[in-house]
Symmetry: C2
Subunit: 156 residues, 2 copies
Amino acid sequence: MVEMTGVLNPRGTWVADRCSIAKALDVVRTRSAFLILREAFYGTTRFADFAERADISEPVAAARLRELVEHGLLELGDYRAPGQRTRREYRLTRKGEELFPVLAALMQWGDRWENDGGRVELRHRDCGEPVEVALRCAAGHELGPSDLELARKPKA
Amino acid sequence: MVEMTGVLNPRGTWVADRCSIAKALDVVRTRSAFLILREAFYGTTRFADFAERADISEPVAAARLRELVEHGLLELGDYRAPGQRTRREYRLTRKGEELFPVLAALMQWGDRWENDGGRVELRHRDCGEPVEVALRCAAGHELGPSDLELARKPKA
């Protein structure tokens, strides 16, 4: 597993009270939040479509959308296509977009372990090749959890 | 955003009832499940340590550990170090280990958006370089969500 180094070793001596994983999960707390985000990445923008396509009730969809807007992952604005009336639409912000690797990693794991390979796949739009989520170090080595260590960051 | 292609275009015409993301989240449903897994990756093996280090109550830890064992992400066995008495320990299975990119992606996002850069980092144990979660296609291109399309998999 991940090796604890320096002041982080052994694990029993410190409290993970500023853990970024926990903080990320304070924002995206529930299955329904992840599914709302999935739909935003799939191009859904309108309230009723989120509820239907994520297969959740409208009250739950409303609560999740509100939280995701409050935390800055989605923004709600008025948009108007030429010749159409104005619509309220939810769109991903940069902060929301950067969560995509989490969803892609869940999809990759679900494909392999819970869904018989899965029925859809992510491909690179330009070259058509299938897409993978990988852990890599700055020197370009591709890694699994046993290749990793956890270290205190040097002070900036 | 991700472009829908082929029979998946437009999004409104199909139901995501076999979605691998949803199926993954049926297994790892809660913040506490992710935090238990974090601890397993950090080397925690004993019941009381999971509860304490993930900062969750013992009943919640017991429920999550049981679910993760039932779904095959952890296994519970008897282990004995030389000269010590036997202990019941939880260890990650291959299925559990392969969830690591999800946690690494949550950490990366949390570092950047919710934690002021974060205080710890994952490094490659051999070369010491920091580790990143990246989306890449089989041809080696590094990608963001806007470079992607979603396609029906060809039948095997």
